[in-house]
Symmetry: C3
Subunit: 349 residues, 3 copies
């Protein structure tokens, strides 16, 4: 697959400087790109590589165009244009339609002839699988699940009963969707399980990372709205709702019944308590702990800066004295004010 530079610009945007007839067949980094490859520059940190690049073309902002030694595609957002061009040059390998002879398929299913089901996949009864779906090897899809057109399950993915997946969803290997939520009542020290009776609804164009887990609702559903992107090892508890086009980085956990707004950007290792509401357009930096609702859009943090362990030991133990320190500080202010007032009275500075 190769395109003329001018064709790429016509289809995806940007203005060609240099030879629009130049043939491009792959993307690569500024440092490593060679003949026939297109690179991009979006972070000023990598500007130093521009002068030496051997790429056939570079996607960049107008401010760097003058110093580009090769063909350029000039655009306001090089990273976005790079994404579109990379998708065109590197489409996913076309799935082989059809069912592997070892795929184990239940009764009363509605499976498109254009779907592909790999070796050792296990599909339950009454499952609906639309066109161009790809079910990877070792996947387990339980009774009654529905999967929209163009959705891909990588290897060893599990979709439990009550899961409904939209179109063009990408679920990476080892993800488990629709396991029981963590719900128990306590009976004199023993835990009595609350049957988890809801499902999981996943909108269109969602991506779910490797070994990520999303629990079914207790009553009602857990909902992942359209366009949401979840990284690896994210944990979404029962009855959570994640708003459309929100992105959540790896190792983040969201406790039960919390609602996350639309277009949020949530960093890695974040923890969000249960029964909260997070507004639209909220950003949380890495390892932030959210134990109260957030009603205003904005950027929030609680990650604690590291230091050498020796001084950490001294400084962090002081956190336990902070309230005491704050009170003593206020008392000192009162005393010093009293001293100064008395000095003024007695005529001192």
């Amino acid at each position: 697959m190769a395109f003329r530079l001018e064709e790429l610009a016509r289809r995806f945007g940007g203005e060609v400087h240099g030879d629009g007839q130049c043939l491009i067949h792959a993307v690569a980094s500024l440092e490593r790109a060679g003949e026939g490859e297109i690179a991009f520059l979006s972070n000023v940190h990598f500007r130093r590589h521009l002068a030496h690049t051997r790429a056939s073309a570079v996607i960049l902002e107008p401010r760097f165009a003058a110093e580009c030694p090769v063909n350029a595609v000039v655009t306001a957002d090089p990273y976005l244009l790079f994404a579109r061009i990379a998708q065109a040059l590197h489409p996913p390998p076309p799935p082989v339609a059809g069912r592997h002879p070892t795929a184990c398929i239940g009764q009363d299913c509605a499976i498109s002839d254009r779907a592909s089901i790999a070796a050792y996949a296990v599909i339950g009864d009454r499952v609906q699988i639309a066109d161009d779906v790809r079910i990877g090897p070792g996947c387990v899809v339980e009774d009654g699940v529905s999967i929209g057109a163009g959705t891909v399950l990588d290897a060893n993915v599990v979709l439990h009963r009550g899961t409904r997946v939209g179109a063009r969803v990408l679920i990476h290997s080892g993800a488990v969707i629709g396991g029981d939520g963590f719900g128990f009542a306590n009976d004199r020290g023993r835990w009595i399980k609350i049957p988890q009776l809801g499902g999981v609804e996943i909108g269109d164009d969602v991506e779910i990372g490797c070994n990520t887990t999303i629990d079914r609702g207790a009553l009602g559903d857990t909902v992942i709205e359209e366009g949401v992107k979840l990284d690896n090892q994210v944990q979404i508890a029962h009855n959570v709702r994640v708003g459309a086009h929100t992105a959540i980085a790896g190792c983040t956990g969201i406790a039960g019944s919390t609602t996350i707004g639309k277009r949020c950007a949530i960093g890695g290792g974040v923890g969000i308590s249960g029964h909260l509401e997070i507004a639209d357009d909220v950003q949380l930096t890495g390892t932030t702990f959210v134990s109260q609702s957030i009603t205003e859009k904005g950027v929030y943090s609680s990650g604690v800066p590291f230091e050498p362990t020796r001084s950490w030991r001294r400084n962090f133990m002081r956190i336990r004295q902070l309230d005491d320190m704050a009170r003593r500080l206020a008392e000192l202010e009162r005393l010093v004010k009293a001293i100064r007032d008395s000095h003024e009275t007695t005529g001192e500075t």
Copy 2:
């Protein structure tokens, strides 16, 4: 499956107000319940839904009985009674006994005729599987493992050699029990593996979440006592012991050789260092970091409150100055006291 309201109360507790003959076939939420469904009210936050409920009956505390517009079951602990009634109305689907023809089973196993083994499960040699066990699709059970009556393994669960599982245990999809502990000796910068020779012992009535991992002991066993509930993506290292009826929420990690007491409640994202002892009845709120043993029951925390990133940047960098601030505060107190003492001497206020 349906029950008269009075029968539910007779079997599980509570006092019926209204029509005890009313037929109940399902549980639902206060907001969504309709004809034949029973809801519950245990959190005052949802009281506003009570007046409008269309449920056939509501489980609630005596203080809300007067305002219930429909049949009621009155009890001191509505959530617990709801759990029992929900279990009765929504039993898990009965497993189909027998071995799927693709299940791959080793030699010298003792497998109950009443056990169910799903497609593509792989069972090693000398495995013992008791009555009513259900092994899900894609599970791997290694040589010599024993599984007690009524235990369920969902899909793609792995039980390594040396694992002994009690009765009525529920292990969710993707969990891995009995992987090697993380043990190495260092030889001039290189890591030399310590063979992990112990096993994992899991008591009765334990629940283990999706993609949770529990490592085998190095010497001796890792032990999960009866009634313990582990959420998704929990990590239990080698030679840990978790006391009976303790619950641990998602994304929590417990390092090697630590002992957790009985009836503890451990929040999500908690980290507990190795070789510690945590007393019985300890509660840890979300994202708490425990680096010392806890000898007294009680509630403990170290989760750091978030704030807007702009002020976070200013405030959190100051943590590195805390010890210095504390010393300066003490010095100021000394100086101010000296000034006040001298004022007293000289007759000032």
Copy 3:
């Protein structure tokens, strides 16, 4: 398998005190060891068990030799010697060479006759598998992957396209190597996927824990250098490089394009932001959050000490006032100095 004590010392080091002809067939703990078993003492905490041990021999330091009631092997590093002796006494079970009849193998593969492939493993096209490799049940190895001699994949491991694994690597159950990195460009609120085109390169003698995930590079590779040890549920994002002989404990996440040095020791639950450089020989204690590069070797921390929730509530809310407190403290110092200066001028103490 059994060895004379003197043979163990000759092969692996240490000086025998007592009967070198004594036969040893297993390792065990000081407390539990019996006839024919060898224990070790490396932590002074366990010294109290030495007097009562029933082990046939104990590996220990010179300072404890005099009080050992049984045969001893004296060495400067008992834990390291124990590791080597335990490896000799407890070798992993020899794999059965050959392919299970249900293993599903693609075209144009180069698979050693001495490799073992278990039930329901799925191997793609053009895969290279060297001598003595063991592929566990339910593993998925995609097209073009190469696996070096002596490497072991436990159950349900996934190796995606573009993964190259060295020799003597041990990958535990449920690990996923080579899933897509988390890369998106934003187009007016919608996420546009950046195709992830790189691979994962894993050096010799690496160990990778259960359910750990390592993403493929976006452009270029994610690299795990030789001798690296990763615990369970570790997340390594795209284009990360982990330096040789670094060990990373469970639940740690490393964001994209970060480089970790050689011989680092990274505790559990650590979070490291993207695009950072961590020097060689850095140690990070548990739950440390690293948001800046570390250029000097040393030990670093940011884990926050816990306290009873009641005082935690008071103290931790004060963190939000820290900057204000620091400014007020400085102002008080200024005022107190002014008062003292004026006292000196006026002749007071």
